[in-house]
């Protein structure tokens, strides 16, 4: 069984390597452009204070990881379950089909982490001088990254097994866009104080815990959600989307 699992992982790694440049552009170009406009142009020209750079960076990392993880799992799953049923050869591999789904999640996590690893220094570089990050707890930061990566790929699996090829556009505009814009990526959660209803409503958005979590780990000088709330939120949504994703996968895979 272990051999089969790693062979499945090797297959996804092989395909990801082959499409590396395309995937990179597809998931990271937009965050980098955002970083350039808001973190460089707007701050240098004085429309935004210089501290905004430090506030924005963790949000951008969270955003890139979440987008990369979701796309890395959802897109292939959607197309492989279409009427060509490309996924069938893996469902017929000598392993329980749940492990095929777990492998998808793991592959998505790795891609989300790679995206974070690329965006972090990239965005820092693009922003130029004036970014004030601190690493008081590197292990906590690493643990948060893993939780965010798991969150992104399990959301990807859930979406991928619930959305048809014709609804990919809808998925982006109806699910991902609100998730990003109400996900405290470009502003801290406390900035919503003047909008009390919205401030509470966004707590159902898993993205909030990802951005606020990285913010608490990298720029603790800014207001952020308490760490316990972040961890509880991330663990809760991880468990929720892993179980939802597995359920949806099973439904799609077995008739």
């Amino acid at each position: 069984m272990r051999k089969t699992f790693f062979a499945l992982l090797a297959r996804d790694a092989h395909v990801a390597r082959r499409n590396f440049a395309t995937v990179l552009l597809q998931t990271l170009l937009q965050p980098m452009l955002l970083v350039f406009v808001f973190g460089r142009v707007m701050t240098t020209s004085g429309f935004l204070p210089m501290q905004y750079k430090s506030l924005l960076l963790p949000g951008i990392i969270a955003l890139s990881m979440v987008l990369a993880g979701i796309q890395a799992v959802a897109m292939p799953v959607i197309s492989e379950f279409q009427f060509t049923r490309e996924i069938e050869d893996r469902l017929l591999a000598p392993i329980e089909i749940e492990w095929v789904a777990v492998e998808k999640i793991l592959a998505g996590m790795i891609q989300a982490l790679v995206a974070g690893l690329i965006v972090f220094p990239g965005a820092w570089l693009v922003m130029g001088r004036g970014v004030a990050l601190s690493f008081p707890h590197p292990f906590l930061f690493a643990a948060l990254c893993l939780l965010v990566a798991l969150l992104s790929s399990s959301i990807g699996l859930t979406l991928g097994c619930s959305v048809g090829q014709g609804q990919i556009g809808l998925m982006f505009s109806l699910v991902l866009a609100p998730m990003i814009f109400f996900g405290c990526t470009y502003y801290p959660w406390s900035a919503l104080q003047k909008f009390p209803i919205l401030q509470h409503a966004v707590l159902v958005n898993p993205m909030v815990y990802a951005s606020e979590g990285l913010r608490s780990a990298l720029v603790p000088q800014f207001p952020h959600l308490p760490l316990t709330a972040v961890l509880a939120g991330l663990v809760f949504f991880d468990v929720l989307f892993v179980s939802l994703g597995l359920r949806q996968f099973r439904r799609k895979a077995v008739h």
Partner: protein, 341 residues
């Protein structure tokens, strides 16, 4: 050692259209988990009614029936891909739904529609498939090369399979199913859409694979294929086995298995009646306005008499064709319908 297959009162009821009929997500609601029964009325489709059969170890077994008879669902259940509503199935000693992983190890599946991994090249499709089954690197590379050559795909081996023609995809699907040398090979409509030359190649390969003691189950609605390849055939209709036996036994079981097609003109009611009176004729059906299909228990020896009756009635004969007892006629006999309906 060869292993057999058994099913016991298999029943499968789909509460929505079977997977092949409507690709989910295209016709369905935007988000599948919200598509509650309240919004989409439940349609019950009985794909398998009460399917009991036994495939002997090392035999090439055919499931014959029209579209929608339940052939693919049977294969789906036996290959762990469809969960039966009721009943049980075994591959060898392993009960399919209970010991899925062990069953998957022992079977190879060629689906009705090629489901190749389009992100990979032909060679990679085979080597990764080998890897899923734990075959060591050197061995899977060698096997892949051998299969690519045998299936005449070597010159396109390192191209993505997505650009292949239908016939090439089908050949690659079969090569992939053989990659881990399974004891049981399932072929769902293997020759649908193949050109005659490729079909012959396929039949040859299937025969050789069976000759090595492997068990092969193939579904088809092509009579010739079942007749040519299979040791035994089950005729399936509406999710049930309606006849089972060797092709020869099955054909011998129907009276008047021969069909003599006569083309002549003019066609008159008197002439049709006269043909029906010949000894050994069981039925006469008008063939448009220019001839008749004569069902009889004999073939060639009846032709002179039929011709004489036709000529005596003053008609001109333009063609005579004799078809021997066939599974097609058999299906017609059992169901009152043609296989192609």
């Amino acid at each position: 050692m060869s292993i057999g297959i058994r099913t016991e009162q298999l029943r499968k009821v789909y509460t929505s259209a079977p997977p092949s009929a409507t690709p989910r997500g295209i016709a369905g609601a935007p988000f599948a988990w919200r598509s509650t029964p309240a919004r989409r009325p439940k349609v019950e489709i009985v794909a398998l009614e009460d399917l009991t059969l036994e495939v002997r170890p090392g035999e090439i077994f055919g499931l014959l029936g029209p579209n929608g008879a339940g052939k693919s669902t049977t294969v789906g259940v036996l290959t762990t891909r469809i969960r039966p509503t009721a009943g049980r199935a075994w591959v060898g000693e392993e009960e399919v739904w209970v010991r899925r992983v062990s069953v998957k190890r022992r079977i190879g599946v060629v689906p009705q529609r090629a489901n190749l991994d389009f992100s990979l090249t032909a060679r990679e499709i085979l080597t990764f498939h080998g890897a899923y089954f734990g075959i060591p690197v050197a061995e899977r590379n060698a096997r892949a090369q051998a299969l690519l050559e045998r299936f005449q795909l070597a010159d396109r081996a390192d191209q993505l399979a997505v650009g292949f023609s239908g016939g090439m995809m089908q050949r690659l699907s079969i090569a992939r199913a053989m990659m881990h040398d399974p004891e049981v090979l399932f072929l769902d409509e293997p020759s649908a859409g193949l050109d005659p030359q490729t079909r012959l190649l396929l039949w040859e390969i299937v025969r050789q694979y069976g000759a090595r003691g492997n068990t092969i189950v193939l579904t088809t609605h092509n009579m010739e294929e079942a007749d040519d390849l299979c040791a035994r055939v089950a005729i399936v209709d509406h999710g049930k086995v309606i006849a089972l036996g060797t092709p020869a036994d099955l054909k011998a079981s129907i009276p008047g298995g021969y069909v003599i097609r006569l083309k002549f003109s003019p066609q008159t009611p008197e002439l049709l009646a006269s043909l029906g009176n010949a000894a050994g004729v069981t039925d006469v059906r008008a063939l448009g306005t220019f001839g008749a299909d004569v069902y009889a228990d004999r073939g060639g020896s009846l032709v002179p008499e039929l011709l004489e009756r036709t000529l005596r009635a003053g008609a001109q004969v333009s063609d005579v064709h004799i078809s021997e007892p066939s599974l097609e006629n058999l299906f017609l006999h059992h169901t009152g319908r043609s296989l192609r309906d």
